[in-house]
Assembly symmetry: C2
Homo-oligomer: 679 residues x 2
């Protein structure tokens, strides 16, 4: 339902504390947030208030353009309109089946009053729990081929705040430990960046629908004033587009609690609806594979005596998957190109040729007979043009073999991809350009892979990816990705992932979308260093770190040693009809309850950082008309991530929605619960 | 049920990071908290761990004594025993009907190894949500008359923390705005002092069972090291007692959330059981009265044309109370002594003689006929010995008139009471000593009034009192008190109570016990300054600020102007069978649900500081088998404490325990809900 023509009462906004003259404004449906647009000596800005108090101070809008004057001065407001929207839509898979999209939209058109008289539109969508805005560049004589030198969008946070962030524009992509600093000590951050004001307000800055545009980093200009810093193209500019086009949405999720940020659906709502139609061919599922052994360095990706991707090893994983109800099996290192120095040197990869010791056809047939599906693997080593050249045949091969999920990889040197457009230098050598993993060129590449895969009913799971901006709504075969320090850093990271790591992820990286974190290392053992969690926390991660495909990555023999804990991994689904954040603080702890999409069972995960906690959890999310058996997997009385990580108890209790559970989490611990309705 | 003889495994504690040698230890029933006792070169200390991580670093135990050597050095542990205790007891009235008292007790006896060879006992009671410890002085030849010069008990908080506190040892007793500072910037604080570590752990330092002893202030020695600073007696020492005796319990409530602190029953549990027997003669209730008009300065306590306590005015309040189901009527200024400068000059008060314009007997009879009970009033002006001389006859008079609750008052100069033991100077003048409002002498005075009143079935409500340390468990006629900035500061305070005030109170002052805050100023109007809340928040305070007697203090004509809001005040009870803190942060916001002790109705109060908030509140506390009508009193869409405090909506919704309410609180706002089961 869309109601057009809601009149915005500018008079009410005149005293809203904006810089210059307030020329437009809009308020969220529940009168929580409002945005004001002002013009000050020809320069445009926006500001945000919550319950009448300023949250974002007047912040500039505009662009520096190449080969023409900047689009920032001599502006006047020439048109504005407001509307409201309220719709509930259904996800094919996800944390929630139904999502409400309820906002007030404000469209404002600015035009230059002199010279080129160019114009652009800014569209604001104001929700009770956040807002997004984007620029729209209409087709116009003075602005056809647009080269964005810099986007000038600002975000000025009013209240003193603390930030959780990773550095943007660094060599190791998104694979950094989260920093917690005063907001005014951030240098340049990736998004999502989550902040908490001293008043307890939680804000996450991010973007939605990053299509054919450069990623936004947040560069601090001064104090708590941030500017959109776009990832540069190899040509030096940031973005090149032909009008008409839109930028991604710049987003601010704003909530009283950390959980409120997580429960916001702003990012998905700002993306376009499903463009693929029926995607029921994608099956959320768990998968095993030949992977962790390479991170332990007991197997190798390269061929030779330690080669992991042998026919025999793959069949062993297929047997394991079949026995335990896991749909998929990933085999890394199955193809030609891994011998020698492949890291950042991916031009030797052949995406259609298996190594001699890996019978791809035979393994695929064996899997089929066992009811298991191979998960494909395309590591590019950053040689992206090289990969694109083979993309069609590579996808066709997998499609023929029944592979319907592919894990791609971009372990590129310095976080930059190799781009080769066929251009040759004067001396006849190929021109190889370096593109940021999150620049405009890579944003195109990823969507190319996703759309080509979709044609073949294949889902994509990129590692070392571009960040998630909610495009899974439009392309539901872009099912998950990495894009943060995953479990392999527990194996060999220096430092390894600390106990707080996943509690940072939930309220930062996970606000972007699903992550293929690969939890479930029940051995708690990396490469000469322990995993810094308790056993129970490994189980909880299956609920806490959402992904529609979840790996079961530990060595088969390690699951055999923990039959009691492994039962939870066998039971836990990867597709949900409802998700509730029951409590949590950024970087400290969280408890999440999710309902299985395919049954009446509920699952709960709770995890903490290096501090033990006692949390009262009312079970109100359960169906009040049912009784449940709670299968509880918890830390033992003396459990501690450092001194007693294997202290572990499994027990059952009969519970109902009226009960309150006391959840005791050891230092670095967790708890996982399956609630099964009593027939 | 008591299980004696739990063996404490000292070996396990050896590496617990205590100073010196760990000689004893105990762990809470749920293995959450543990305490270790150590001796280091003859000096004793304790430390506290939570989930194996240090919370309180080694902190000294001991005393400086007058006329003898200090009791702190050359100590050895000569005896220890441990036991566990688990019992549920019933309150005659309160926030909860049943309270569980489940702890591990550790008793350690220290003795001097040389010279006087004195000994003392320290008893620790370790709960999952806190601990208390006290000193026991056995009768012994070298320690009979004990004069405590200083208590040397320390509290060394490990993690960097923020504190909410009011200054201890200042002239205006407890009537200060709460300060929020880094813990290492506290100077000297009253208890309860609440702190939150940077890791999110919440700790409240306080004391329990303050009987015949001086109150403890917390003086910061250095960094985050605090020492018990006892309120001094006029003689210069702090406490004088004869052995055997016990000190009050030094308490630490420790919880992951602010709500966890509030839900802790540590303070009540550490007090002795009910010493009065059947106290069903005390009736929790609301009361109206002649009071707010004096704070508005439209009436006076003194006689004359503006005298508030006239027969006619009292009868008007009695009529109002009778019409609206309020049990009590308070009439301040009814007795002789208010003319002239009574502030800190209370020797003119006569507690049995009414002013000529107030027919006490007639008013009492009128009230009886209307089914209303007068609430007595004894203002001392700080002349405490003077009051004690009249105490018997004053109580007898009230008992004869059917007065069963008395509000006492101690508006003393410089926070100190006048004490006159009958001693005269060499020149024949009376010797008047000045005693701290919270010193040992006043602790005796308050208990004398309470026990004398109990004999006559009268309950006591002291204003400008000694702090609450849970003695209502032992003396259930000590029903409430002031002991913080109440609503009168909204009338004339400079500055007035800010929007955050009550949110500070809930997690500091209210951890001590009930407060006669006198909410419900629906006019939102003080003496030339507005009350800094919305209308809805005034209603919420009846749920948020617990007291078994609650005033309905605004002018009668103001309630007539707000008939819709007044309905909630008429409905809300003052005695509860259950209390649940649904969410909250110290100084920011809180939501509390309480169940009426005398019906199946539930009440919810939610309030916020100067920041508006949206809070999701699952109604899990409701009976899952019932449906309810929720009578919702909330802030209107444009409400704001400063600009639109009267924006207010009353609405009804049918709800059940499976529902989740979205509670929208305006800046400085609140919400009150009554849940009535549908028949």
């Amino acid at each position: 339902m869309t109601t057009r023509g809601i009149l915005v009462l500018i008079a009410l906004l005149a005293s809203a504390g904006t810089r210059g003259e307030t020329v437009a404004g809009a308020t969220s449906p529940g009168q929580v947030l409002s945005v004001q647009v002002a013009i000050d000596e020809g320069r445009a800005s926006y500001s945000v208030q919550r319950f009448g108090e300023p949250v974002i101070a007047p912040s500039r809008l505009g662009f520096l353009l190449r080969n023409t004057e900047k689009l920032e001065r001599n502006l006047s407001l020439v048109e504005q309109s407001a509307s409201s929207f309220d719709q509930t839509w259904e996800q094919p898979w996800g944390e929630n089946r139904y999502i409400r999209n309820n906002y007030t939209e404000l469209r404002v058109r600015f035009a230059e009053t002199i010279k080129l008289k160019r114009s652009f539109v800014v569209v604001f969508r104001v929700y009770d729990d956040g807002l997004g805005f984007r620029y729209e560049f209409p087709d116009q004589p003075a602005l056809k081929d647009v080269i964005i030198e810099d986007e000038l969008t600002e975000f000025v946070v009013v209240a003193p705040a603390t930030a959780w962030w990773i550095p943007g524009g660094e060599w190791n992509r998104y694979e950094y430990l989260y920093l917690k600093t005063p907001l005014d000590e951030v240098t340049q951050a990736h998004t999502p960046m989550t902040i908490r004001t001293d008043d307890g307000l939680h804000i996450t800055l991010h973007e939605a629908a990053l299509v054919d545009y450069a990623s936004m980093w947040l560069r601090r200009a001064e104090g708590q004033r941030f500017r959109a810093q776009l990832a540069p193209a190899s040509e030096g500019w940031k973005v090149r587009r032909s009008a008409p086009f839109n930028t991604p949405w710049r987003t601010l999720q704003i909530a009283d609690s950390a959980g409120g940020l997580y429960e916001s659906n702003l990012i998905l709502n700002l993306n376009e609806p499903n463009a693929l139609g029926d995607v029921s061919w994608f099956k959320p599922a768990k998968y095993a594979g030949v992977w962790w052994e390479m991170h332990l360095d007991t197997s190798s990706w390269a061929t030779g005596p330690r080669h992991g991707a042998t026919t025999a090893n793959a069949k062993r994983q297929i047997d394991f998957a079949a026995e335990n109800g896991l749909r998929g099996v990933l085999v890394e290192g199955w193809n030609i190109g891994w011998d020698g120095d492949w890291f950042g040197n991916g031009n030797n990869f052949d995406f259609t040729k298996a190594t001699p010791d890996f019978d791809l056809e035979g393994v695929a047939a064996y899997a089929r007979r066992k009811g298991v599906h191979l998960v494909g693997h395309h590591e590019t080593g950053g040689a992206v043009s090289h990969y694109e050249k083979q993309l069609g045949p590579a996808l066709d091969l997998y499609a023929r073999l029944g592979v319907d999920v592919i894990k791609t990889g971009y372990v590129a040197d310095a976080g930059q991809a190799e781009r080769n457009d066929g251009e040759v230098d004067t001396d006849g050598t190929e021109v190889v350009k370096r593109e940021w993993h999150d620049g405009q060129w890579m944003s195109r590449h990823h969507l190319k892979v996703v759309t080509e895969a979709a044609k073949r009913h294949i889902a994509i799971n990129p590692h070392e990816p571009i960040k998630d901006t909610g495009l899974r709504r439009t392309y539901p075969n872009w099912v998950t990705r990495e894009g943060a320090r995953g479990m392999e850093y527990a194996a060999w990271g220096n430092p390894p992932n600390p106990p707080e790591h996943e509690l940072n992820l939930v309220f930062t990286r996970m606000l972007a979308g699903p992550m293929d974190f690969t939890p479930g290392i029940l051995s708690l053992q990396g490469r000469g260093q322990p995993v810094q969690t308790t056993l129970a926390k490994q189980l909880a991660l299956y609920v806490l770190i959402y992904s529609p495909i979840q790996m079961v990555p530990d060595l088969i023999e390690n699951y055999a040693k923990h039959v009691d804990a492994f039962q939870f991994i066998k039971d836990v689904p990867t597709d949900w009809s409802e998700t509730h954040i029951l409590n949590g603080e950024v970087g400290d702890f969280v408890t999440i309850a999710r309902k299985d999409r395919n049954s009446e069972a509920w699952y709960l995960g709770s995890g903490t950082d290096e501090n033990g906690r006692v949390i009262e959890v009312p079970l109100h999310f359960l169906d009040a008309k049912k009784s449940y058996i709670a299968e509880i997997y918890r830390d033992g009385a003396k459990a501690h991530w450092k001194t007693a990580p294997f202290e572990f108890v499994v027990e059952e209790r009969k519970v109902s929605s009226a009960d309150t559970l006391t959840i005791r989490l050891a230092a670095g611990g967790g708890q996982a619960i399956r609630f099964v309705p009593v027939r």
